[in-house]
């Protein structure tokens, strides 16, 4: 088998990658449309993405973007509350929605011949939502239970909220998407309507249709249903309060009796992918893979899980799809008997060694090979590609940026990665958190 490994090192992924070619156009009212064709199955995914997320909320009203997302399943001038999802279900489809810091998205997955009905309903609720006080009361209880489920019952999620708040002193990314509990509990009908009227408009929305469709037909339907909608006048650039320079290290510990597995996590403030300027983000993307991708081949995994067995798990993570400054993270989960202080010191030592040793050329090539192969495997899920376009476009990137990204990744050199690492790894621009168990949680039968 050694022979296999040696001869394969020379191989190169020569398959030409024929990614789904998107068709993009703009309606007269400013609504952007992207069509992704995949004719393997008679299925279509219909998505509308709004360039409005939690980071666009007014001060003190945290959670309103997410709350409104729930409320969009209530009634309109043409539909009863619940009718939207009932109609999708009666047509054999599934539907849902999601909210992030930078966007809110709605989608349905249906047989391709039901696309027109989806457009008709989705365009109806873009401008003609009719909310009542009764909708507000019940649905606010639902989002508080959602917060209970996702955050209050999960010490790791409570810890993350505190870390995120420490990371962003000034930028609204420091506020959780689901909202601080006391603010989410006090959201009103007026809050929902104000956010809705401002941001739910064709000139602030992106339509993505992916699957067994023809671009001309999508254009005809989009012009019919979304074309007549009135834009919101005066919607300017999305300008959020930006971070001041961070000049001192930030550290926090979070203790909870429900924590069974302590760990150390550090996040550094890092640049995101910017339109026309994605090179540093590409270098950071590769850096994350080199440091903390597959534990058996990554730098942190080899040093901390294999050479020594100090860690149960290590990782490095970075996602450049963000409207404003993002973070680059490192994680170490120590084995029992290794304290968090020791674990953090070993993590720092491993990073310092990496900075001194530089990049292994074979590992660098393998990481790039994985990225090329990922393009092929990604073709299997047209819905996944559609989500990538939606998230990228609502984070300020252009179609050209998205299409250029694979080549920009491949053009990154080891020197680019080391330069990016050099400017990244400054503890004065980082938040280091320890998740700890405060005392044994009592479980009795």
């Amino acid at each position: 088998m050694r022979q296999l490994v040696l001869c394969l090192t020379a191989l190169f992924l020569s398959t030409s990658v024929q990614a789904a070619v998107p068709t993009a156009f703009m309606l007269d009212n400013g609504m952007q449309v992207v069509v992704l064709e995949d004719h393997r199955a008679p299925v279509v995914v219909h998505m509308v993405w709004y360039k409005a997320g939690a980071a666009d909320e007014p001060p003190g009203r945290s959670g309103i973007a997410h709350f409104l997302e729930h409320l969009l399943f209530k009634g309109t001038d043409e539909m009863e509350p619940g009718e939207f999802s009932d109609t999708v279900a009666r047509n054999g489809g599934s539907d849902n929605a999601f909210t992030s810091q930078d966007y809110t998205g709605y989608f349905q997955r249906v047989a391709a011949d039901r696309l027109e009905l989806m457009m008709k309903m989705e365009s109806d609720r873009m401008r003609d939502l009719r909310l009542t006080e009764a909708d507000i009361g019940t649905e606010r209880d639902v989002i508080l239970e959602e917060r209970n489920q996702r955050v209050e019952n999960e010490p790791g999620a409570l810890f993350q909220e505190q870390r995120q708040a420490a990371q962003y002193l000034n930028h609204p990314y420091g506020i959780p998407v689901i909202g601080w509990k006391h603010e989410a509990a006090s959201l009103t009908l007026e809050d929902a309507n104000a956010f809705y009227r401002e941001y739910y408009a064709p000139n602030n929305a992106i339509l993505i249709v992916a699957g067994d469709v023809e671009p001309d037909e999508v254009r005809r339907l989009a012009e019919t249903y979304y074309g007549p909608l009135e834009p919101t006048p005066g919607l300017g650039e999305r300008i959020r309060p930006q971070e001041p320079p961070q000049t001192s290290e930030r550290r926090l510990t979070f203790s909870d009796p429900r924590v069974a597995q302590p760990y150390v996590i550090r996040t550094y403030l890092a640049p995101e992918r910017d339109p026309g300027m994605q090179e540093e983000a590409a270098a950071l993307t590769i850096l994350a893979d080199l440091l903390g991708g597959n534990p058996a081949t990554s730098v942190l995994g080899q040093k901390l899980q294999f050479e020594t067995q100090d860690a149960i798990y290590t990782s490095a993570f970075y996602d450049g799809v963000n409207h404003d400054d993002t973070t680059f993270g490192l994680v170490i989960v120590p084995v029992p008997g290794v304290s968090l202080a020791e674990a953090e010191a070993k993590l720092d030592a491993a990073i310092a060694e990496f900075m001194a040793e530089g990049i292994d050329a074979e590992q660098f090539e393998r990481v790039k090979m994985q990225m090329r192969a990922s393009l092929i495997y990604a073709e299997d899920s047209i819905a996944g590609i559609a989500r990538r376009y939606g998230a990228s476009l609502t984070s300020g990137l252009t179609m050209e940026d998205i299409e250029a990204w694979p080549d920009i990744l491949q053009a990154v050199t080891p020197e680019d990665v080391m330069a990016a690492a050099q400017s990244l790894f400054d503890r004065n621009r980082a938040v280091t958190g320890w998740l700890m168990q405060s005392k044994t949680a009592e479980v009795t039968q």
């Binding site: 199955a41 619940g82 508080l144 239970e145 209970n148 597995q261 067995q309 092929i376 949680a441």
Partner: protein, 437 residues
Amino acid sequence: MIRLAASLGLLLLAALPARAAVDIQEVTSPGGFTAWLVEEHSIPFVSLEIRFKGGASLDRPGKRGAVNLMTGLIEEGAGDLNAQQFAKAQEELAARYEFDVHDDSLAISARFLTEYRDASVDLLKLALTEPRFDEDAVERVREQVLSIIRSDSTDPDDIASRTFDALAFGDHPYGSSLNGTLDSVAALTRDDIVTAHADVLTRDKVYVGAVGDITAEELGMLLDRLLGDLPETGASMPDEAELSLTGGVTVVPFDTPQSVAVFGHSGIRRDDPDFFAAFVMNQILGGGNFSSRLMQEVREKRGLTYGVYSYLVDKDYAQMVMGRFASANERIADAIAVVRDEWAKIAEEGVTEKELADAKTYLTGAYPLRFDGNAQIAGILVGMQLSDLPIDYIATRNDKVNAVTLEDIKRVAARLVRPDALRFVVVGQPVGLEAVN
């Protein structure tokens, strides 16, 4: 309203549910393996879904967690390659292998680029037939498993599931976590791992679904190459699980703001003549979308939870009707009362004509939408074989749904849905809820 309803009616009349356009071939290899294949040459890779029936339920007595630990070690070194060398070889091929274990099967999901198919198959074969189980790898993966067991021990969702399973299945493997316990995993030896491997990865337990850029003939060769050196047979299958569950409420005190509830009672076999009636009934009761009765009553009307579901559990050796939800400690008693009412209501009254019609259009329309990706379809193909369904099942499945009548549902609901037999396990600090044995 009226305009929309009118156009909707037209669309429903005009459009039949999309047909699942999958052409399944049964492939028999020269060496005698069978697999189901859908050829799809538009993307240059193949998805292979392999299952070894039995899975974690083949753990030997006192060795709980052995099959799980063995599964975690399959990719941690094989033949001449240690764990790191194996991982590098896999990366150089850009092959993707995932190994997972469930109650009834050990699952391998593999994707290979056409360009490197042969070498990718050889590497996977090495992992399946010559795993090394090096001592350092065993210790490394053992620590990972112990970490998961520790985390589960303070997670209310896991505590609820484990408590329910123990009440329902007792000493049967279904009655405990397939991860094992801190003690049982700490005590596992390399010999136990080797035994688990020989017990589970055998020719007589293997099922394969394949979708992608490969012909039937090529797949036949691949199967012989990949699986031909496995031993013929291993452990015998477990016994039928005896259900020891009674109606009542079990409270597991745990200091957390939101209580988690898992509930259920005995279910229905997949080969029962009333299975499809039960399946459609469950869709109406709590089948996962916003239209279900449980979602409407517990979430939409009362805001008592973020999500509530019921589902039919069809394991190889046990059948259940189950459900779960979570509500704040102060509200969970109310939510349980609503669930109990819905359970009683459907048992007594069945469903309405409109509910049945809506459930049918949803289920028959949603079915073809499942077939929308190579990996996804390969998983369906192997699942059908594990459930002993015929190869033409996909073409007949919607007819079976459409054949269900109001009377069928009334009959199956009266027999299957038993409010008095429901056991609720609640983990949290529920207010106003008494344990009932």
